[in-house]
């Protein structure tokens, strides 16, 4: 193993542990943790299996193997951002419905008690 591989392996392992710890403490929900666990797992595979990057580069026709990482990372990041935007939209819709319901119920309650 090259030193860089050891470094990447340790970093990925660290990431994995942080995610698992966040889930365990209840600060990260399991459904969101899955994506992060998956990315940590992918990183670990790459750090152990050093020639995987070169194999991928050859398949894709890329001369400089490490540059395979860039489009892959960007692709994952974009997917993640879209996913989060969808979640934020859904939550703001839910929040809106909740706020309206509370407001209407409160108005009704006041009408009933003032009678």
């Amino acid at each position: 193993m090259k030193p860089i591989q050891i470094f990447v392996f340790c970093a990925s392992l660290g990431l994995l542990i942080i995610i698992l710890e966040l889930v365990r403490r209840g600060k990260l929900k399991e459904r969101f943790a899955l994506l992060w666990l998956f990315s940590a797992a992918v990183l670990i595979v790459f750090s152990i299996w050093g020639s995987l990057l070169e194999i991928l580069a050859r398949i894709l026709g890329i001369y400089y193997a490490p540059s395979v990482l860039l489009p892959v990372v960007i692709f994952f990041a974009v997917i993640l951002f879209i996913y989060f935007s969808v979640i934020v939209s859904r939550q703001s819709e839910q929040l809106k419905n909740l706020a309206q319901k509370i407001a209407l119920l409160e108005a009704e309650l006041r009408e009933k008690t003032s009678d």
Binding site: L95, K96, A99, Q100, I102, A103, L104, E106, A107, E111
Partner: protein, 240 residues
């Protein structure tokens, strides 16, 4: 509560208000005075000042959002209240005193006669009164062209928040109402759903208190958001 009203049926004035403590009382009282038999419902959109207390004191029904959700949500909450309490007509009036309630009876009677499903007050059909800033007029002119192309009707003031709605329109909008900068978008949604919109000339006053919700960099955001929303709406197909 509802004494004599020229047309049969109950009417509700929906007043969305966010931090309008300077004007809310006089707005409510002016509506109650100039429009006999109407109920006034102030939707306090999570105000941090005394808007809620003053609105209650002035004799309005007050619905308070626990959070500030934006004017579109506030108006929609008002529609939900109108649906639930079986009002036949509703008119939206701004909480800052720009809209003179003296025009409400005429707007309502157009609805009652069945000449339109939605009556929108326009400050450009008639001379006089406050015509708003130069930039905003450019925006409104742009929407006018867009409306002509997309819905084939001339809407001279599509940013007007002074509008009266029939029961079917209220039910329709209580279900789905755009959240931010809703007015121009609502015109398209209603038209696509087959509602008849009619504009009547009104004179608007300069705001008596508070600040416009569109300031700073917001005009740019406003135009982009509204144009995008209108285009998306016209792609969605007919809803009704």
């Amino acid at each position: 509560m509802n004494n004599k009203n020229k047309e049969s049926g109950r009417a509700l004035a929906i007043v969305p208000a966010y931090n309008e403590e300077a004007t809310i009382e006089s707005v409510v009282q002016e509506i109650l005075k100039k429009v006999p038999g109407i109920d006034v419902c102030v939707v306090d959109d999570g105000s941090t000042d005394s808007t809620r207390m003053r609105a209650q004191r002035s004799g309005a029904i007050v619905i308070s959002h626990p959070l500030n959700m934006g004017i579109g949500v506030a108006v929609q909450t008002g529609f939900m209240y109108a649906v639930h309490h079986k009002y036949d007509r509703a008119v939206q009036v701004d909480g800052d005193g720009q809209h003179d309630p003296v025009f409400i009876p005429a707007m309502m009677s157009l609805l009652a006669k069945g000449e339109a499903d939605v009556v929108s007050g326009s400050r450009f059909l008639d001379k006089g009164g406050y015509k708003s800033s130069f930039l905003r007029r450019i925006g409104i002119w742009f929407f006018e062209i867009m409306n002509r192309v997309l819905i084939g009707q001339r809407i001279s003031d599509s940013t007007s928040g002074f509008r009266a709605f029939s029961r079917p329109a209220i039910e329709f909008l209580a279900d789905d109402y755009p959240e931010d900068y809703p007015e121009p978008e609502v015109v398209i949604i209603l038209k696509k759903a087959g509602f008849r919109i009619k504009e009547v000339p009104v004179v608007m006053r300069e705001r008596q208190g508070g600040r416009s919700s569109i300031r700073g960099f917001k005009p740019f955001h406003y135009m982009v958001k509204v144009i995008l929303a209108i285009l998306i709406q016209s792609l969605k197909g007919d809803k009704r």
